[in-house]
C-alpha cells in the first residue's frame, strides 16, 4: 500500500528537482545578462580609448587597437580648452577635502548627540532628519548669492566647506555609533582622566573605523562626481573640475568633431580613479549600502 505513494512521491520530487534546475539556469542566464549590461559600456570605452580617430571614424569593432598610449598622451596634454591633469587635481583636492570633513564632522555630531544629554538635543535630531530629504539644489540660488557676496566665487571653498554639514552621513554615523559603541568605554576614559575631545579622537574614532572607511569613499565619490554646484561656482578654466570639463567637451562635439580617441580617453581617465578604488574596496562599499538600508 505504501509503494504507490512512495513512487508518486519520487515522481513528484523528480519533477520538482527538474523544475528547480530550470529556475536555476534561468537565474544564471539573467545574472549573466545583467553583468553584460553593466560592463559592456565600460568595455566599449576601453576599446574605443585604444583606437585612433581615423580607426574610430572607419567603423566599429570589439577588438582593441594599438593607440592607447597615443590617446593617453593627447588626453593629458593641455588642449585649447583645458588641461585634464589640472582638472584631475582640482577634482581630487576638492573631493578628498570634503570627504575628510564630511566624515569627521558627521561622526563628531553623531557622537555629540549620542553621548551627551543636553537641552534641545531631541529637537535638533528630529530637525536634521526632517531636512535630510530636501534636495541641495533647492537652496542653490540663495547659496550662490551668498558665495558671491563673500567673494568666494571661483574658489574651492564653496565646494568644500558645506561638506561639514551632511545630514545623511550624520544619520549613518548615528546608527553606527548606536549599534557599536557602548557608553561604558567613554565612562572608562573619563575615569582615566581623558578630556572629552581626546576621548572622541583617540577612542571613539578608532572604534568607528569601518563606518569611516565607507563614508570616506562615499563622500569622495559624491564630491568627485558632483556637477551641479561646481558648474555654478567655478568660472575660470584653471579651477574647472572634471564634470565641468565633460560638459565643455560635450559642447565642443556639438559644433565640430574633435579627436574621438582623445574624447574616449578623457572619459576613461575621469572614471577610472573611482573604479580602481571601488574594485579594491567593493566589499565594504556593498556592505555599507546595505547597512544604510536598515533605516528603510
Amino acid at each position: 500500500m505504501a509503494n504507490p505513494n512512495v513512487a508518486k512521491y519520487k515522481e513528484e520530487s523528480k519533477s520538482y528537482r527538474a523544475q528547480q534546475m530550470v529556475t536555476r539556469v534561468l537565474a544564471y542566464i539573467f545574472l549573466v545578462f545583467v553583468t553584460f549590461l553593466s560592463l559592456f559600456s565600460f568595455y566599449l570605452l576601453i576599446i574605443n580609448g585604444s583606437r585612433s580617430n581615423a580607426e574610430l571614424q572607419a567603423g566599429f569593432t570589439l577588438i582593441p587597437s594599438t593607440h592607447f598610449g597615443d590617446n593617453f598622451i593627447t588626453a593629458i596634454t593641455d588642449n585649447a580648452l583645458f588641461s585634464l591633469p589640472r582638472g584631475l587635481w582640482n577634482s581630487f583636492f576638492i573631493a578628498a577635502s570634503s570627504a575628510i570633513l564630511t566624515t569627521y564632522f558627521s561622526a563628531m555630531t553623531a557622537y555629540g548627540i549620542h553621548v551627551y544629554d543636553f537641552k534641545g538635543k531631541k529637537f535638533i535630531f528630529t530637525f536634521i532628519l526632517a531636512v535630510m530629504m530636501i534636495p541641495t539644489q533647492v537652496s542653490a540660488a540663495g547659496f550662490i548669492q551668498l558665495v558671491n557676496q563673500v567673494h568666494l566665487n571661483d574658489t574651492y571653498w564653496p565646494l568644500i566647506i558645506p561638506a561639514i554639514a551632511a545630514p545623511a552621513i550624520f544619520f549613518y554615523m548615528k546608527q553606527y555609533i548606536e549599534s557599536s559603541m557602548p557608553l561604558e568605554v567613554i565612562e572608562a576614559a573619563r575615569v582615566d582622566g581623558s578630556n572629552e575631545f581626546r576621548t572622541f579622537n583617540a577612542i571613539a574614532v578608532p572604534m568607528l573605523k569601518p563606518a569611516f572607511a565607507v563614508q570616506l569613499i562615499f563622500g569622495f565619490v559624491a564630491s568627485w562626481n558632483n556637477f551641479f554646484t561646481p558648474a555654478l561656482v567655478i568660472d575660470s578654466s584653471d579651477n574647472w573640475t572634471l564634470p565641468i570639463m565633460m560638459s565643455i567637451l560635450r559642447s565642443k562635439l556639438n559644433s565640430q568633431n574633435g579627436d574621438l580617441g582623445e574624447v574616449y580617453m578623457m572619459i576613461l581617465l575621469s572614471i577610472i580613479p573611482v573604479v580602481i578604488v571601488y574594485l579594491f574596496l567593493s566589499k565594504f562599499i556593498v556592505k555599507g549600502v546595505a547597512l544604510g538600508a536598515v533605516k528603510g
Partner: protein, 322 residues
C-alpha cells in the same frame, strides 16, 4: 547632587560637538534656503551688463512662471512632465530588475554562486561620474558613434538618436536605470533578508512554488522597503540634472523635450542671467513638488500596505494550520 553636577558639566560638550555642524548647516543650507524663498518675490536678474533690481514684485515671478508661452504651453509644467516621464521610463525597469535580482540573490533554494562578483559588478555604475558616463553614451549613440556604424552597415542609413525626443529620453532613462538598479537591488536585498525566514521555510515545507512565495510572502512583506526605495528614487528623479545636461549640452533638445526642472533652474541662476528671482520661484516649486510627491507616494503605499499585511497574516495562519 554630585551626579547632577556631572551631567550639567558634560552637557556643555554636547553643544561643542554639534556646533560646527550646526553653524555650517545654518549658513550654507538654511539661510540660503530662506533667501531663495525670499528672493522669489523680487525682480533680480542681469540683462547683458545691466543689473535689474532687486525690486519687490510680490507673486509676479510665480505668475510669469505659470503663464503660457507663445505656443500656449506652460514651460515649467512641460519641464516637470519631461522629468517625470524620463524618471518613469527608467524607474520601472529599475524596480523590476532590482526586485528580480534581490529575490535571486536571497533565495536559499537557488543558492547562487559568485554573488560577490555579481553584486560588485551591478553596483559599479552607481559610483561612476554621471557626467562622464553620459558623455560616453553620447559618443556611443552619436551620428559617428559605434551604434550608428552598426545601423549604417545594416540599413545603409544612420539614425539620429539625439534628434528624436523618444530616443533621447530613452537613452537618458537608460543611463539612469543602469546607474541605479544595483543600488536598489542591494537595498531590496536588505529588506528581504529582514523578513522572518521561518515564513519561507514553512512555505517550502508546504510545497509552495517560487511564484507563490514571491507574490504571497516576499512582495507584501517587502512593501515598506519598496515604498522607501520608490520615494527616494522619485526624489532623486526630480533632481535629474547631470545626465540630460550633458546628453543635450544643456539645451534640453530636441524641442525642449529633455529639459528637466533642475536644468531650468541651472539655466536661470547660471552665470548668464543670474536670475535669482525666477530661480527662487522655480526652487520653491521644486521644494513643494518634492514634499507633495513624497506624501502622495507615502499615503498610497501605506493604505495599500495594510491589506497585504493582513494577507500575509492569513498565509501565515494557513501555513500554521497546515
Amino acid at each position: 547632587m554630585d551626579k547632577k553636577h556631572k551631567s550639567i558639566s558634560y552637557a556643555k560638550w554636547g553643544y561643542i560637538f554639534i556646533i560646527p555642524f550646526l553653524i555650517v548647516f545654518i549658513t550654507c543650507q538654511l539661510i540660503p534656503l530662506f533667501n531663495t524663498f525670499y528672493n522669489s518675490f523680487f525682480e533680480n536678474y542681469r540683462d547683458g551688463l545691466a543689473q535689474i533690481g532687486p525690486n519687490f514684485v510680490g507673486f509676479d515671478n510665480y505668475i510669469k512662471l505659470f503663464t503660457p508661452n507663445k505656443s500656449g504651453s506652460i514651460n515649467i509644467v512641460n519641464y516637470a512632465c519631461n522629468t517625470m516621464i524620463m524618471w518613469i521610463i527608467g524607474a520601472i525597469p529599475q524596480l523590476v530588475f532590482s526586485l528580480l535580482l534581490a529575490v535571486i540573490f536571497t533565495s536559499a533554494r537557488l543558492n547562487i554562486k559568485g554573488q560577490t562578483f555579481f553584486k560588485t559588478v551591478i553596483y559599479m555604475p552607481n559610483l561612476v561620474m554621471a557626467s562622464a558616463f553620459s558623455m560616453l553614451f553620447f559618443t556611443l549613440f552619436s551620428n559617428v558613434g559605434p551604434i550608428n556604424q552598426i545601423i549604417l552597415a545594416m540599413t545603409n542609413n544612420t539614425f539620429e538618436f539625439f534628434r528624436n525626443p523618444v530616443s533621447t529620453r530613452c537613452i537618458i532613462a537608460f543611463i539612469n536605470f543602469l546607474m541605479w538598479f544595483g543600488n536598489t537591488t542591494i537595498l531590496l536585498m536588505a529588506g528581504i533578508m529582514g523578513i522572518d525566514q521561518s515564513l519561507f521555510e514553512a512555505a517550502s515545507i508546504d510545497g509552495a512554488t517560487s511564484g507563490q512565495v514571491f507574490f504571497k510572502i516576499t512582495l507584501p512583506l517587502l512593501m515598506p522597503i519598496l515604498l522607501y526605495v520608490a520615494i527616494t528614487s522619485l526624489i532623486g528623479g526630480l533632481q535629474m540634472f547631470d545626465v540630460p545636461q550633458i546628453i543635450t549640452a544643456g539645451s534640453g533638445s530636441p524641442n525642449n523635450s529633455c529639459m528637466t526642472l533642475i536644468m531650468y533652474l541651472n539655466r536661470l541662476i547660471g552665470s548668464g542671467s543670474k536670475n535669482y528671482g525666477m530661480g527662487g520661484a522655480v526652487s520653491v516649486v521644486i521644494f513643494i513638488l518634492t514634499g507633495a510627491l513624497s506624501m502622495i507616494v507615502f499615503k498610497t503605499m501605506v493604505t495599500r500596505d495594510d491589506k497585504p499585511k493582513k494577507k500575509a497574516k492569513k498565509v501565515k495562519e494557513a501555513v500554521k494550520n497546515g
